[in-house]
Symmetry: C2
């Protein structure tokens, strides 16, 4: 008999490991974020790198999101295929092959992309011109993350001027992502950091507008900082992604969102009373931000191997798990855990109510 999960099944009938989405918690997360942005000047442009799932994007848009943020061209292709019409690819798209894919995509949706160097601007312009398409451009400013982006208002101005004059390109504004602050636990430290990051964006916008180039869009922010970036000038759109699922790390920073993403796993062995071995390891719950969190039992993860998690129970008698029992984990990083699965098993009150394809899973190009 072929194993085939059916809507209406109990989660007890699902094979493991399985990635569950707690639909009630997910819907509350969507609603909480939508309610926050309902009366703000900035709008939400949620990042699809977290979920890679057109159905999640559809629900974010239905709840008021302006459009979608993507990390990669291949991810944006999947979202456009699913009908998303307004997409920001929040990274530099470099090289002839990728620019060819990008400009094809620009022909079928409203598309923006980030730039941080003049050669790339010229390449993008030439490709857009050749295909007769227009591409929106955000000049990325490094507000402290020290990854990509220009590092001064003057450099941003120079690039903005180049973009404004480049055929096929439309200068839309700036991008500044305060990724170095999204996991900062202390609210005061986080707020101070965000104010500083936004200060550079504010000065950059002022300088560019002084040169008669309008800066309608300033995009950035994340789940850790949405309430700051989303209310302070000059941000106009916020790229938060993780709020829909949360994870063991992020929920410490933003307790107003709930863990909706759960790894369902089975106990394989309890070879000694202190040790419980379960069937999901590195290939299901990457430990980017520490070990996943085991729910409901007084046992600590002692290690992950590819296909196993090893738990140690300091007081074995208090942990009645035996082979065949089911346990649940919260991954430490939702984005990489989702990127390992082909489908989300959507559950409400322990019943499978839907299966959502993670259609952009693995879309790293």
């Amino acid at each position: 008999m072929l194993y085939e999960p059916k809507i209406g099944m109990s989660i007890d009938e699902l094979d493991t490991p399985a990635l569950l989405l707690d639909l009630d918690a997910f819907e509350r997360n969507i609603d909480t974020m939508a309610a926050f942005f309902a009366d703000k000047a900035a709008v939400l442009r949620p990042h699809s790198k977290t979920h890679k799932c057109p159905e999640v994007a559809r629900r974010q848009l239905a709840a008021g999101a302006l459009g979608i943020t993507c990390a990669k061209v291949s991810e944006a292709e999947v979202m456009a295929d699913a009908g998303v019409s307004d997409i920001l690819i929040a990274n530099q798209i470099v090289g002839a092959i990728k620019i060819d894919r990008l400009t094809d995509l620009a022909a079928r949706c409203d598309l923006m992309v980030a730039v941080d160097n003049p050669g790339n601007v010229q390449d993008l312009s030439a490709a857009c011109l050749a295909k007769g398409v227009t591409l929106g451009i955000l000049v990325e400013v490094d507000t402290g993350m020290q990854r990509c982006g220009v590092r001064s208002a003057e450099d941003a101005l120079a690039l903005a001027r180049l973009v404004a004059q480049a055929p096929g390109l439309e200068f839309k504004g700036l991008q500044g992502y305060e990724g170095h602050l999204v996991h900062t636990l202390d609210p005061d430290e986080r707020a101070a950091g965000v104010r500083q990051a936004l200060g550079l964006l504010k000065a950059t916008k002022a300088l560019i507008e002084m040169h008669d180039i309008p800066v309608p869009t300033i995009s950035g922010g994340g789940t850790g900082t949405y309430d700051l970036s989303g209310t302070l000038p000059p941000m106009t759109e916020i790229q938060a992604g993780s709020y829909v699922f949360m994870d063991a790390k992020y929920v410490q920073v933003r307790p107003e969102f709930e863990n909706s993403l759960i790894v369902l796993s089975t106990v394989l062995s309890r070879p000694v009373p202190e040790r419980i071995v379960t069937d999901a390891g590195l290939k299901v719950m990457p430990p980017d931000f520490g070990w996943p969190k085991l729910l409901g039992y007084a046992a600590e993860i002692a290690g992950l191997s590819e296909e196993h998690a090893k738990q140690v129970a300091p007081e074995p008698a208090s942990v009645p798990l035996q082979p065949g029992d089911r346990v649940q984990f919260i991954p430490s990083h939702c984005c990489t855990a989702v990127n390992l699965q082909d489908r989300l098993y959507v559950v409400r009150e322990r019943v499978l109510v839907d299966i959502w394809p993670i259609a952009a899973r693995g879309c790293a190009q």
Copy 2:
């Protein structure tokens, strides 16, 4: 124009990130391992958790491997679909849903599985009996890895007796995987550890055979220990997997195999002379065993984010990389890097000669 890699392309025409297989190095690895086992009593049963790729399995079998080792039932289903007829699932398969899939699989290939507790033996026997299939059983012995497995010869004997009497099951022998030693750098320390691990298996085999239960198979070993486990009694088959690809970690332990698995990546940005940002991050090169290794440039990885690697060049002038340039990385752990990709781009002398589907990618159930 749809992006579609074509056989005969230069790797310069491949979009990135892409997972390349250097076919010459891969074939040498296959040959080196086959030559080693050609005159040994033990045989090779390579682990497909590393490659998840039926074409790799086919080549391993063509080079003399006895059969294939799998980590999971879903992985074994893919290998059986591809025509592999002799499979060991080297883990405990627990719970009604999984056992149902397992016993279906037993109807269409020679199948063995590991056990380490009596309740699981009873469940497997009942399921085999109900379906009229026979399942080979290895009793797993913990030889020091402290994951699954019984911990004494006496416990192994008790389980072997139970298996030998259980309808639908055939006691085939023992499994003992010295996973705690496969990355040990010092050869003497590694050898001493392996001898100790094999000592327990030897004593266990002797005890079980003293009770008139033959122990024809003893399976274990890995790429780090194949030359020890593969030549010392009592091992009869070796489950090495990583030798086909190798990675930045394993090549330090076993320099006789070559790195054949390469991540092709593009420079996205060089915002300051010291910093080079490339387009493959956590979602392509998981840092299970440290950072991936950048080939050919004097720059150190300073961090991975989901979609980026950040390199720092202590002497910027000696690293002439600019946006659009291609670089190559060796992942730190081949098994989890492969599990993120749908295909291997097979190259010989920088030309794409084949594309192999990683058909069991994501098969964690």
